[in-house]
């Protein structure tokens, strides 16, 4: 199971600027409740789960993937 990429540099993910979420992190995330895709609302800094009708907040670049902290979508 050896790998041929020994020159990998270990970098901490949060090279985040203030208030910005790392795009690499966003690619991994799904709604924790429904495991469905999320839409990134840049203006509101939210990750929207249409399936769960929830919008998860991003605070200072940190996604808060807690259903109890999410805003319920009412429309």
């Amino acid at each position: 199971m050896a790998d041929e990429t020994p020159d990998v540099q270990s970098v901490a993910l949060p090279e985040r600027q203030k208030g910005r979420v790392d795009p690499k992190l966003l690619e991994l995330l799904v709604c924790p409740v429904t495991k469905s895709l999320l839409e990134y609302d840049v203006a509101r800094q939210e990750l929207v789960s249409k399936a769960a009708r929830l919008a998860y907040p991003i605070r200072d670049g940190v996604p808060i993937m807690l259903p109890e902290e999410a805003r319920a979508l009412d429309d």
């Binding site: 199971m1 050896a2 020994p6 270990s10 949060p14 690499k24 995330l29 799904v30 807690l66």
Partner: protein, 303 residues
Amino acid sequence: MSTPLLFDRAMLEVKRKRALRRFKPGADFLMHRVAEDLGERLGSVLRQFDMAVALGGVTGHIATMLRASGQTRAVIRADCLWPETVAGTGAISLPDLVCHEDVLPFAAQSLDLVVSGLTLQTVDDLPGVLIQIRRALKPDGLYLAALAGGDTLKELRESFAIAETELTGGLSPRVIPFLDVRDLGGLLQRAGFALPVTDSERLTVRYRSMLDLVADLRAMGASNPLLERSRKPIRRDLLVRTAEVYAERFSDPDGRIRATFQILSASAWAPSDTQQKPARRGSATVRLADALGTKELPTGERP
């Protein structure tokens, strides 16, 4: 089927936050040890991992270990505690992502490595969490775990049981039920992991008295998180009697008491076609007796 609820999740978070805020130097000794051990296990796997998640663990030792390992390209520290709660405390790295450790927000086949250290002994549905982890891993992705096991705090459990029965004629749960090392292997297999390897290590920590042990547990954020715990403050006479029983039964000749911590560790892989598998039954081309250079005897016959 719903899972019986054992743990008071809100209370767990309160206790962990309090422990971080009033950080007592040295109280993270188990985390240090576990992070070091998981680091060694990772080091024995000759591979690089692109996307790694350090799951839970409060203090951030695991994420820091992963970042220093040189074996990961990106590390996400996911924890149930918010960064502002963790900042300026005894924690050594901040969460990049906040989630419950048992309701994971990771897409299927998105991660190369998941490491959890001393986290999953306090989730209600461990089989469910393991399945979520396995699904989040890419094929041939690795899961490394350490969690407190069956013998952890057995002396404390027994001392409480004796003292409480004596004084009140009844028992209330004061030490959480822990997993056995055999159960862990079985659960990993049931969750669909390949090549699971489990291991157990016992640490004996000596304290001046039971009260010092209890203070240390509180400083780890590890005091009783059970839903069924007694909500009344512990009676002083019960605490005193428990400490006496503990000292009578579990102390060394020099008067110091012993506390056992059992650390279970596991490594397991998300299944992939590239992994070794047992050969199909009946597919052998050489007789075992020939390979061993012995004579095959019919069943029931003795040499």
